[in-house]
């Protein structure tokens, strides 16, 4: 029973009217998620700046509060005080709606991410499918933003967005199916409970595919083609300022937090861990993933758009299919007691497949005759 249901039961026993029994805990839960998510996003922004500074031989923000922790708040105030500019020939309605459509689904993702035993807003029995469905809504918002801005750079970004997000959805979904197969459930809570050994050990290839796919889904380097500042300046949010820009900005970090949470839940054993309270374990795992993403951002150059597509279709997708087949066969043939055999087998498969693929295929792409 989740904490929310316990709360509902408590109110029911106190003879509250039916509508209040359902509404009060729901609203409380939503507010809690909002506060939780926004606080963590602010800490994330600070952490990214500090860590990126360290990677780049500089200090990073350190003036505003201890260790510069209040710098994101200063940034937020600055952004909110900016004039809200709407381009003359923009589609006013779409330009207004787009940031909301990008940001709201990201918040909705947190409804099914468990941060502790029963600490989940709704324990949907189709939690994973909900995540897949909701996370693909943002791309519509991004395309709306880029189209409505009436800017050529953002139009290029919008076209890239559609291609990138749709292509990377497939490997991400296929690698999640492997997890669901082994766990025997789509519910996020059940998946965490099924992980005696974190699935990252059992399905290393699945984790790598999910991680790379998720990087592309959340537009982080080296797949940050939507906002490639050296090519298309800021991409889809080039014409946004003020609160609308803040929505995109928060959304960017929100999606990273969401995907890091999903990764921690699906592959790293979620809230489970010795000694420390569950929420701390969850946050530790999320921060490790986030730091890894920052590390990649600080190190790697960007892929080109055609290379990005061939990476999805020639590398990730076939590997995800093969990974799924291997997992399915193992679930069918090998008994659960042979966990360690599965782990060794899968690491072997992962290494062999990655090696084979890197020999067989290149990213390709080249000059087009015009």
């Amino acid at each position: 029973m989740t904490l929310l249901e316990q709360f509902q039961l408590l109110l029911k026993n106190a003879n509250w009217p039916d509508w209040a029994v359902y509404l009060t805990p729901a609203i409380a839960g939503i507010l809690l998620i909002l506060v939780f998510v926004l606080t963590i996003i602010i800490v994330f922004i600070w952490w990214e700046r500090r860590l990126l500074g360290r990677f780049q031989l500089r200090t990073g923000p350190n003036r505003c509060g201890p260790e510069g922790i209040f710098q994101p708040i200063a940034t937020a105030i600055k952004i909110l005080l900016k004039e809200d500019i709407v381009p003359d020939k923009a589609d006013k309605l779409l330009h207004f709606v787009a940031p909301i459509i990008v940001f709201v689904p990201i918040l909705m993702l947190f409804a099914v991410i468990p941060v502790g035993e029963g600490a989940i807003l709704v324990d949907l029995n189709i939690g994973i499918i909900y995540i897949i469905a909701i996370s693909s809504i943002s791309v519509i918002g991004i395309f709306m933003a880029s189209w409505a801005s009436n800017n050529k750079y953002s139009l290029i970004a919008g076209m890239r967005a559609i291609a990138q997000m749709v292509s990377y959805e497939l490997p991400v979904v296929l690698s999640i199916v492997g997890v669901a197969l082994v766990a025997g459930s789509f519910s996020m809570l059940k998946i965490v409970e099924a992980q005696g050994i974190p699935y990252i050990l059992q399905q290393p290839l699945g984790f790598i595919i999910f991680f790379l796919g998720a990087l592309a889904e959340m537009n982080r380097s080296p797949f940050d083609l939507l906002e490639a500042d050296s090519e298309i300046v800021a991409g889809y949010h080039i014409e946004y300022s003020g609160m609308k820009f803040a929505m995109f900005y928060l959304g960017e970090y929100g999606i990273v937090l969401a995907y890091a949470g999903i990764m921690a839940t699906l592959f790293l054993g979620g809230w489970q861990g010795p000694l420390l309270p569950p929420i701390v374990w969850f946050l530790i795992k999320v921060v490790i993933i986030f730091s890894f993403i920052i590390w990649m951002r600080a190190t790697l150059p960007r892929l080109r758009v055609d290379q990005l597509m061939s990476f999805a279709w020639k590398f990730l997708l076939p590997m995800a299919v093969i990974n799924l087949v291997i997992i399915a066969v193992e679930v069918l043939v090998l008994p659960l007691s042979m966990q360690w055999l599965i782990i060794i087998l899968n690491f072997g498969f992962a290494a062999a497949l990655i090696l084979l693929w890197s020999k067989l295929f290149t990213l390709g792409g080249g000059r087009v005759e015009v």
Partner: protein, 368 residues
């Protein structure tokens, strides 16, 4: 019935993060593919050539700083070489060594900026630039020691250099030279075999040998195309014939070669510097005896040298007065970007940016 389509025109610049200044490219796109490109220059035009006609010969030296502001020293030197050729001046031995030392340090600095910003154009989020800046900072400190400036040095003079080296310069440069090979190895470790860098730059934006020679390209851009041409070797100026170094060349003339040739040239510059530091005379004048209002005889002279970005030349016509009658600047990067449209047609927008970055342009020099 075929659908009627038309190219998508995109203005890259004059204000754009990757144009290295105020450069404007009018690009015709078919989807993401570049089908036409038209460079529009002149946003930074300051009329340096005309200004020089109203200044004395010495007063023009600060203007040359502002041409290619990432390699001010070599600009100074090229101008001074032209004036010295015009006036038939002899430069003291110690001054020649100081000039070579600073030219080579300048080359290292300029190449590091070029490589760093090339990686930035590739999307590497400032990290390579900031690593390169760690070393460039030491170079800036050394420049500050001798002339008090960190960007626009105004250090070379007609017949020598403006000041003698301070006492703390030699230890600083020796320390720098001892550390530098280690740091170059570190850059290579970070970049040279990076899978994404290779995928993005190998075979991209090829400048063929014939085209490179045909347009009169020079510097690393020419050498990356496989032409072994370096004025320091072919037509040694100053005292370059005394030093032992190699001229690195590329094979194909793609973006990767242009990057790699620069890295190799940094190593060669370190080699030259080590020899120069060992050979420099302890004492001696650093500037020939040149009057303040220097009046070269009537005539004309062309002074040129191998700058970090290529062959930079100054053509001076003198009418015997204190100011040049006419000064013309031969800017290497303007010549090098004339091949831009040959290189970028058929590539994607992202490639256009890195090809432009790999040429290493500085707009101060193109617009003059």
């Amino acid at each position: 019935m075929p659908i009627k389509t038309e190219p998508f025109y995109l203005n890259i610049g004059p204000q754009h993060p990757s144009t290295h200044g105020v450069f404007r490219l009018r690009v015709a796109l078919d989807g993401e593919v570049v089908v036409g490109v038209e460079p529009i220059i002149g946003y930074l035009h300051r009329g340096i050539e005309k200004l020089a006609e109203t200044r004395t010969y010495t007063q023009t030296i600060p203007f040359t700083d502002r041409l290619d502001y990432l390699s001010s020293m070599t600009n100074n030197l090229a101008y001074c070489l032209a004036v010295e050729k015009l006036g038939g001046l002899k430069v003291p031995e110690r001054a020649e060594y100081i000039r070579v030392i600073f030219s080579e340090i300048m080359r290292i600095s300029s190449h590091m900026m070029a490589v760093g910003f090339f990686l930035n154009d590739l999307g590497a989020m400032m990290t390579p630039v900031l690593y390169m800046w760690r070393e460039r900072e030491k170079i800036m400190d050394m420049f500050e020691m001798v002339c008090g400036q960190r960007l626009l040095y105004n250090y070379m003079r007609i017949g020598g250099v403006s000041q003698n080296l301070p006492d703390d310069f030699m230890p600083a440069v020796k320390k720098f030279l001892a550390e530098m090979p280690k740091y170059i190895d570190e850059y290579d470790q970070l970049l040279a075999q990076n899978e994404i860098l290779l995928a993005r730059s190998k075979g991209v934006g090829i400048l063929s040998k014939d085209t490179a020679i045909g347009i009169g390209a020079s510097g690393p851009v020419l050498r990356a195309s496989g032409v072994k041409w370096d004025i320091r070797k072919m037509d040694p100026y100053s005292i370059y014939e005394r030093f032992d170094f190699e001229v690195p060349t590329g094979d194909t003339g793609d973006c990767y070669d242009r990057y790699w040739v620069r890295m190799l040239e940094i190593r060669q510059s370190v080699r030259i510097l080590e020899q120069a530091i060992a050979q420099i005379p302890e004492k001696g004048a650093v500037c020939a005896d040149v009057p303040q209002f220097f009046r070269p005889p009537r005539g004309e002279a062309y002074g040129y040298l191998e700058g970090p970005k290529g062959n930079i030349g100054f053509y001076i016509v003198s009418d015997g007065s204190i100011a040049p009658y006419r000064l013309h600047i031969y800017p290497p990067t303007l010549i090098n970007i004339t091949a831009l449209s040959d290189m970028v047609i058929g590539w994607k927008v992202a490639d256009l940016i890195i090809i432009f970055g790999s040429i290493d342009v500085v707009l101060g020099e193109i617009d003059r």
